[in-house]
Symmetry: C2
Subunit: 326 residues, 2 copies
């Protein structure tokens, strides 16, 4: 089966290296120059019916909120401020004018709220299935741009935002579980950590950043690969939220599994120089009213190791993949 | 049935007007500022299996050529030079690794030929149908940018490139006609008029430009609407090419119909100040080795009128629409 990883690897083999000032394939978003000191940052995400969402789970406004925030999360993960959007919609015959109007109105309303201007796109018929493609353009000072490849051995690995809740929420929807509305909302209307991303961008001590969209374990592995480093993750530092804990008890799920491999968290994974980590964490809590969670360390050895009381633990889960059946 | 026109109209109602230096919905591509004197131009086109193409008509390389050139045509129509691409691919289970590799290799090869760097995108599984979304970014001096809204009454209306051939080629494919290979190639591997677009951009006497992707009649109507003008088109000036003529004889089709409403021409429609039209035409032929065809005039009256020997003719065709069944 084709994986996104194989396709990215293939493209990295055959595509020329970008010139100075341009950042190509392999990060959350691409970078093209704007001036000597600033850049545009461009993300492009596809959302496909019955791969990324099911129409009957939510209303059109939630879906347009989601497609915008999935892209916003990529822009945030670069440390950039969102500015412009292009929307591609391929509409199946079973969606009527009212549905499409509500989707568009929701998209535009949420864009305005995020100070994003919709500047273009394309609409077309789809013989089957709703296909959505958003291109989002952000702007950042070059000195504020964060990449996946800046982590150094010794850096403290931190997570901003919740882990596992969106994955467990999706599970609840798929299994037709009554209730757990706040968990379901995490997958139906994710909120990208835009302000946090911009804030991290302004901190020189944040050495690398990416968003966690495919699960902590797989995304951390990508960050480590890009930075030519490894990491240890202390499983005891992964505390499930109360709603995740309750939901996992109710559905008889392993909350740790969902925190490690549940997709669509749209949390931010950052690495921070060890000498300033404590002051950065303190400032973060002051700015956002919730803590930045240290979950491990960057290491020289190029592998991701889960530990408990310092003892390596086996990784026994199947990582989240968009190519896996929901 | 939902039309792209309705969706664009809806969006134009609810989206804020763009600030100075930004050009939003309603042209071939959006414009965002790069410097005081230059801009980035951004197009986003969707190509959907069984709406825009059928897999069994051609090889993966032809399809990747097509998706690139469909977007290139939008960039060309703005007078801009293509620079960067983002590729979104949603891949159905019946396409294997070899097919995808050939598609990607073809896309990257043609991009390199056109001096375009692939800088990002997204790949995902599609439960059914191949969906392709390309975002193309070009660059232009602001003084070279051409829009749909600059046509003035009295301007000469001209077409660069062939009309009707791609539409007739598609018809030949759909009807399983043997032969007519050069016509079929027009729909399977269209060539955007990139150099012509850049050339028109450099001529201040070219007052408006757009690409003809949905048929001359409907695209001219859009140009007129954007410019708050009308146009007369002299049907006697629409000469079918020899291959279109032969194909229409063979398939018992009206070549004029295909020239007026056949989609996917990717020709360029330009309006030129009447006083310099002759010298521009002469320079064009000298530069490109084929003529720029004058087909009519821009008028004050806000409607598009087809004429023959100066006498208005009824328009009796169903305009091309991506929402119509192929």
């Amino acid at each position: 089966m084709l994986s996104e990883h194989d396709i990215i690897q293939k493209l990295q083999e055959i595509v020329d290296s970008p010139p100075c000032g341009v950042k190509g394939i392999g990060d959350d978003a691409a970078v093209i120059p704007l001036s000597e000191t600033t850049s545009y940052v461009i993300s492009k995400d596809l959302l496909i019916e019955d791969t990324h969402f099911r129409l009957h789970y939510g209303d059109p406004e939630s879906l347009s909120h989601k497609v915008l925030h999935v892209n916003l999360s990529d822009i945030a993960a670069m440390g950039a401020e969102p500015q412009f959007a292009l929307l591609g919609l391929s509409i199946p015959p079973y969606l009527n004018q009212t549905w499409v109007d509500r989707f568009l109105e929701g998209f535009v309303r949420e864009s305005k709220k995020q100070s994003i201007l919709l500047i273009g796109g394309d609409t077309t018929a789809s013989p089957q299935g709703l296909f959505i493609s958003v291109t989002l353009i952000g702007k950042a000072q070059n000195s504020h741009l964060k990449f996946r490849n800046g982590a150094n051995p010794g850096d403290i690995l931190c997570v901003a935002g919740s882990l596992g809740e969106a994955g467990a929420g999706l599970r609840a929807l798929e299994k037709d579980i009554i209730g757990l509305e706040s968990l379901k909302k995490k997958t139906l209307r994710p909120e990208a950590l835009i302000h946090e991303g911009i804030w991290f961008g302004q901190r020189p001590d944040v050495t690398a950043m990416m968003d966690i969209s495919d699960g902590l374990y797989i995304d951390l592995s990508r960050l480590c690969q890009a930075s030519c480093v490894g990491a240890t993750v202390d499983l005891n530092a992964l505390h499930p939220s109360t709603i995740l804990q309750e939901a996992c008890q109710m559905m008889k799920l392993d909350s740790l599994e969902y925190m490690l491999i549940g997709g669509e968290d749209y949390a931010l994974l950052v690495t921070i120089s060890p000498d300033v980590h404590q002051s950065t964490s303190r400032d973060f809590t002051q700015a956002f009213g919730y803590p930045l969670i240290p979950i491990g360390k960057i290491t020289k050895e190029r592998e991701v190791i889960l530990t408990q009381q310092g003892i390596p633990q086996p990784f026994a889960y199947t990582p989240f993949s968009h190519f896996r059946e929901l």
